[in-house]
């Protein structure tokens, strides 16, 4: 019985009790407050449109449907992770741009609207990033720099976005954060390439 009165037993028992009770409480709350991928998508839609909208999934890497969960990868540029058709005819993309600072990535939501057979980029917002340290330099003005471009024409002319080539038509730089701006440009270029390659069938 003296074993149960030792200081070290009391210490271990105390810490274990706290850990077990905390663990049980957190397990319940983790289940109750879990945010599903669908909720996250709806949040992104709300951020872009200011309200919730109905959508259908064209591509979603988190989808359980094997025919819709393969990302479209453009080597050295980026990947298209999600494509949703919104009920108003817009197409919403989530793309990841490669070659940011320290080879990190930037993931963006990009809203496109269709006029005839052409698509234009209407809005670009940040979803997340990896390894980037100067993201505060990528302000609203930078993201607005991608707006209203005729994506189809840009693809046909080969005038993709760049943060490095001053002579390029679609030059969208950020002073002091060129690598991060490059990754963001690559993310937008994924959409331009996708729309250019798939045309009216996007």
């Amino acid at each position: 019985m003296s074993f149960f009165k030792t200081a070290w037993f009391k210490c271990i028992a105390c810490l274990l009790s706290i850990a077990v009770i905390s663990g049980a409480l957190l397990a319940v709350l983790n289940d109750a407050l879990a945010v599903s991928p669908e909720m996250r998508t709806m949040r992104a839609i709300k951020k872009i449109y200011g309200e919730e909208k109905e959508y259908s999934v064209v591509l979603d890497i988190d989808s359980k449907d094997d025919t819709k969960n393969t990302a479209i990868v453009y080597d050295g540029v980026g990947s298209v992770n999600k494509i949703y058709e919104i009920d108003n005819g817009d197409i919403l993309f989530q793309t990841t741009g490669y070659e940011g600072y320290k080879n990190g990535t930037i993931t963006l939501w990009i809203r496109t609207a269709k006029t005839g057979n052409d698509y234009s980029i209407e809005k670009v917002i940040l979803e997340k990033y990896e390894k980037q340290t100067l993201m505060s330099k990528l302000t609203g003005d930078f993201y607005n720099g991608f707006k209203l471009i005729d994506a189809t024409a840009a693809y046909n002319d080969g005038s993709l976005f760049t943060a490095r080539d001053k002579t390029a038509e679609n030059y969208n730089p950020v002073s002091g954060a060129t690598y991060s701006a490059n990754a963001a440009c690559n993310a937008v270029n994924c959409v331009i390439r996708y729309l250019g390659e798939n045309g009216g069938n996007a």
Partner: protein
Amino acid sequence: MKTDFKKIAKDGVISSNPTLKLVLGTCPTLALTTAAMNGIGMGLAVTFVLIFSNVIISLMRKAIPKEVRIPAFILIIATFVTIVRLALDYFLPDIYESLGLYLPLIVVNCIILARAESFASKNGVLASAADGLFMGVGFTTALTLMGTVREILGSGAIFGHKLWDFSIGFFSSSAGAFFTYAVFIALFALITDKCSEKSKHKKANDKIKENA
């Protein structure tokens, strides 16, 4: 022993203000005060953790062996920080995103550990809850005021609403954070010193009048 709630309130908000007097929790203070809303979000998150961790630690103060009190405090604090994270991600995703890495780092916030060690582990539940509340109010007020000044000067906006196009980029930078913090500490010291001098004079005058 009767709890002096007035003293606890005065200590938390003014005489032992964790940010402006004790200079604790400087990491989130400097990093997150680029906007007033961030200050409020961080302040309220810390206040929640302070109140509940203080209450639990006070309740368990006789059951926790002194050899393992710090790991036990950290376990309790980490539990409440995780609850705040889950709740913010679910109910207030924008604030959750803007607080980013600094939200889990509340676990090692010295204000919370300091109050657990120096107050909650030695006082009753009500007093500990009041201490957590007023320390949190002091922290939230300081962060919100700093965030407001830096947002107005650094971004020309307040609570995300644009006021004018004029802005001084310096105030959004790390150097601007240190500068603003220094100015706030100096102003707070100046005001509290003047107030305590006034109250000393008043007390002395009252004593003279009494003697006369």
